[in-house]
Point group: C2
C-alpha cells in the first residue's frame, strides 16, 4: 500500500458503494431503489422547472449544494417572476447516520429497522425526495405544495434494512374556484384509484388532518393527499414506487391548466391584500405545525434557505382581519373551517341555475369567446362592473369614451384591475373609499388586462 493512501480499516459506506455502482453500471430498473428514486426525482425536477419557466417567462436560479454531514441537493427558485411570486423546486439526496434515539423512534412504525433485542448504536440511512411549492402572484391562482420522498436504512452488515415512501400534494387557494379544487382532487383520485381504491379516501383524510392550522381552527387549504411510512405492509416496493411516480408525474398536467386559467384574471388591491393575509396563515402552518420544517430547522448543518424556500415572498398580519359576511373571502374561510364540507366535491356550477330558455345564449357566447365569457361572468358575479362603455363603430367616438375612462380612472387614484399589479398593500387604506373602477372599455384600454380584451 502506498504511503500517501489513507489507511482504511472500515468497509465502504453506503454512499461510496452507490457511487461505485452508478459509475460502473449506470441506473436501470434493476438498480437499487435508492439510485432509481434519485434518478427519477432529478429528472422530474428538470421537467417541472422547465414547465414552470415556460408559464412564467423568467428563469429559475439553480443552486447545487453539499451538506458537510453527508449528501446534498439541488435547489431551484424562481422569485419575483411574471406569474409566480415564488416557486421553489428542490431535490435532496442525503446519506447519513441515524443515532440510537432516532432508530428507537422509527421502530414505532417500522419494526424491521432493527431487531428489538439488539438495537445498534447507529445505522446508515439514505433519503431522497423532491419538494416543491409554488406561490403565484395573482390572488385567483392557488398555491400548490408537493413532496415525494423515499427513505431506506442499511443494516450494520451493509444489507438493506427498512424502507418506506412518503409524500403528497395539496392546493391552497386564496379565492375558491370550485372547478380548480374539483379538477385537482379528481386528478389525484384517478392516480390513486389506478393503484388502490383505498388510497384516495385514506390519503385525502390524512392530508386534511395534517395540513390543519390547529390554532386557527382551519385547514391550510382545500387538501389533496398526504401519506407517510408506505412500506411492505401496504404494498410491495415496485408497486409503491410506481404509485409515487404516477403521482409526481400527474402534477404538471393538473396544476399548469389551473394556473393558466387564473394567472391573468383581473383582481383588485383588496383581493391582493386578502392574498397577503392568507399567505401569513401559510407561514403560520409551516413554522408552527409542519413537522418537516421543524425537523429541517433543527437538523445541524441543514441548508436553511432550501427549507424556507417554501415561505411566500411576502405576507401580511393584519390584526382582527375579518372577511365581510357572505363574501368570497368568507366562503373560503367557511370551507377551510369545515373540511368535511363537500361543496368542493360536488361540481356546484351556478350556471346550472340559468333557465333552459337562456342557456343557448351563453353557450353561443362561450363558443364565440371561449377565453372571455367565464372571466366576464366572474366579474359580474363579484358585482365589480360599475359602468360598461361600448366602443362605437366610429373610432373617434370610441377614443373619446376611452379618454373618459382614463380620466375617471385617474380620479380614482388609478385603482383599476390589473393582473400583475405590483403595488404593496400599505396604501390600500387610503384608496379603500374610492369606488372600485373596472376598465372594461375597449381593446386598447384593456390592454393592461391580459386575457380580457372585449
Amino acid at each position: 500500500m502506498a504511503l500517501d493512501e489513507p489507511l482504511r480499516m472500515d468497509s465502504p459506506t453506503l454512499a461510496e458503494r452507490d457511487q461505485q455502482l452508478k459509475a460502473e453500471q449506470g441506473v436501470s430498473d434493476v438498480s437499487p431503489m435508492r439510485l432509481r428514486m434519485e434518478k427519477f426525482v432529478k429528472e422530474q425536477q428538470k421537467l417541472i422547472v422547465q414547465a414552470l419557466q415556460e408559464v412564467d417567462g423568467a428563469k429559475f436560479r439553480v443552486d447545487e449544494w453539499q451538506r458537510k454531514e453527508g449528501g446534498g441537493g439541488i435547489t431551484c427558485v424562481l422569485q419575483d417572476g411574471n406569474v409566480f411570486e415564488k416557486a421553489g423546486v428542490g431535490v435532496s439526496v442525503v446519506y447519513g447516520t441515524l443515532p440510537k434515539p432516532a432508530i428507537l423512534k422509527m421502530r414505532a412504525n417500522h419494526k424491521n429497522i432493527a431487531d428489538g433485542d439488539n438495537i445498534p448504536d447507529s445505522l446508515e440511512f439514505f433519503a431522497a425526495g423532491l419538494s416543491l411549492i409554488v406561490h403565484p402572484k395573482n390572488p385567483m391562482a392557488p398555491t400548490v405544495h408537493l413532496n415525494y420522498r423515499y427513505f431506506e436504512t442499511a443494516n450494520p452488515d451493509g444489507s438493506p434494512g427498512a424502507w418506506w415512501f412518503g409524500g403528497g400534494c395539496d392546493l391552497t387557494p386564496c379565492y375558491l374556484f370550485d372547478e380548480d379544487a374539483v379538477q385537482f382532487h379528481k386528478a389525484i383520485k384517478d392516480v390513486c384509484d389506478k393503484h388502490d381504491k383505498e388510497y384516495y379516501p385514506r390519503f385525502k383524510k390524512w392530508c386534511d388532518d395534517y395540513f390543519y392550522n390547529k390554532h386557527r381552527g382551519e385547514g391550510r387549504g382545500v387538501g389533496g393527499i398526504f401519506f407517510d411510512d408506505l412500506d411492505e405492509s401496504v404494498s410491495d416496493r415496485e408497486n409503491l414506487f410506481a404509485f409515487v411516480q404516477d403521482a409526481l408525474k400527474s402534477f404538471l398536467p393538473t396544476y399548469i391548466p389551473i394556473v393558466n386559467r387564473r394567472k391573468d384574471m383581473p383582481f383588485t388591491e383588496k383581493e391582493k391584500e386578502w392574498q397577503q393575509v392568507r399567505r401569513a396563515r401559510y407561514v403560520e402552518f409551516n413554522l408552527v405545525h409542519d413537522r418537516g420544517t421543524a425537523f429541517g430547522l433543527n437538523t445541524p448543518g441543514a441548508r436553511v434557505e432550501s427549507i424556507l424556500m417554501s415561505m411566500p415572498l411576502t405576507a401580511s398580519w393584519r390584526y382582527m382581519y375579518e372577511p365581510e359576511p357572505k363574501s368570497r373571502e368568507a366562503r373560503l374561510v367557511e370551507v377551510l373551517k369545515n373540511p368535511k364540507d363537500t361543496s368542493i366535491e360536488r361540481n356546484d356550477n351556478p350556471l346550472r341555475r340559468v333557465p333552459p330558455t337562456h342557456r343557448h345564449l351563453l353557450t353561443t357566447l362561450h363558443v364565440l369567446f371561449p377565453a372571455l365569457v367565464l372571466p366576464a361572468l366572474d366579474l359580474l358575479d363579484r358585482g365589480l362592473v360599475a359602468r360598461v362603455v361600448l366602443a362605437g363603430a366610429d373610432p373617434e367616438e370610441g377614443k373619446k369614451k376611452q379618454q373618459q375612462c382614463h380620466q375617471q380612472q385617474r380620479q380614482c387614484e388609478g385603482q383599476h384591475i390589473s393582473a400583475n399589479d405590483d403595488d404593496g398593500g400599505d396604501d390600500d387604506n387610503r384608496r379603500r373609499d374610492c369606488a372600485a373602477f373596472y376598465l372594461v372599455g375597449s381593446a386598447s384600454a384593456a390592454a393592461a388586462i391580459p386575457g380580457f380584451t372585449v
Copy 2:
C-alpha cells in the same frame, strides 16, 4: 336559602375572593400582589398607549376580551399608523387551574408550589402581565418588545402558594445605530443596578441566549434583558415588584426618544426591502422558537389575535438574500451573529476620529442646526449624496434648479428618499438599476422629507 340561588358546596374561587376584596377595599399597598400587579399593568398600558398615540397621531383600537376558561384582557393595537406599522400593547389577567402535569413541570423551578410527597391533582393559579411590541414603519427605527408578568398559585386550602415574576425588554433594529443600542442598554442597566448589581449582566446574557434564532445562527436583535422565575430565592416579593415596576416605567423615556430620532429619517426602497427581510426573521423567531407564543397557540380557548399581535404587518422572505460586503446591512448581521461583540457597548462614535482642528466647525453646525447635522452626516456616511444643489439668493434661479431636480427625479422613476414611503417591495427589482437619487435641494423640494429641510 332561596330556591333560585344555586346550591354551592365549594368555597369561593380565587377569582371570586379577589373580586370581593377589590369591591370592598379597593387596591392599596397592603392588597395581595395579584391585585397590585393587575392595577399596575393596567395603568401602564394606558400611559404607554397614550404616549405611542402622541408620537403617531393615529389611535389604538381597544378590545376587551374574556377567556371562557377564566380571566381576560385588554388588547390595544395601532395598525398602519403614521409612524408605526404595528404597535400592540396587551394586558392579560388570567385566573385558571393548573393540571397535575403542569404542576410537576413547574416544581423543577419552584419547589414550594406543592409538597413533593403530596402533589395535588390541580391547583388554582393567577397570572397577570403586560406585553408590548412596536414595529415602526421607518427602517431606521428599531422594533421593541417588552413583557412583564407575575404568576401565583393558591394552595388547595386557599392560602398563597408559589409566586414569581418574569419579563424583559429587547431592541431589534434593521439598521444599527450604536447610540440607540447604547442608550437602550444603559437605561436598562441603570434600572437593574439600582436594585442589584448582578441583575444586568445576568439578565442581559439570558436575553442574548433566549432571543436567538438558532437555525440562522444569529440573535433576533441587539438584546436587552430577559428573566423568569424571580422568586424568594432571588429577593423578597416587595423588592422584586419594585424592580419590575421600575423596569416597565423606564420603557417610555427610553424608547420614545429613540423612535423620535429615527421616525422621519430618509430611507430608500432598498432599505425598506431590508427591513422586510428582517421582519421575516422576527416572524421566524416568534413562531419557531418563542416559548410564550408556542404556549399561547397551544392553549385551548386562547385569543390567537392577541398572541399574534406581535407579528409585523408585513414581512418578506427573499431566497438567498445576502447583504453586500461591508454594507450597513452586513454590519448588522455581523453583530447579530456575534452577540459577544462589544461594539454596541463601547460608544464607538466615529466623530471622535475628526481631527481636533475641525471639531469646532462641527460643533458650531450642530449648535446652529441641532436636528439636522447628524442626519446629514448619516447621509454622507452612507454615500447617498450624489449631487448638492445650492438654492441661490435669486428665487427664480432656485426654482429652476428645483425643477431640474424634479425632472431628474422623474427620470429615475421617482426613487427619492421619503420618510413614509408606502410602496411595497415588489417593484424594487425594476428600479434597482436606477442610481439612487436624493432630493436635498431646497426647502420646498425637501418638503417630503420631514425633519430634513436644509
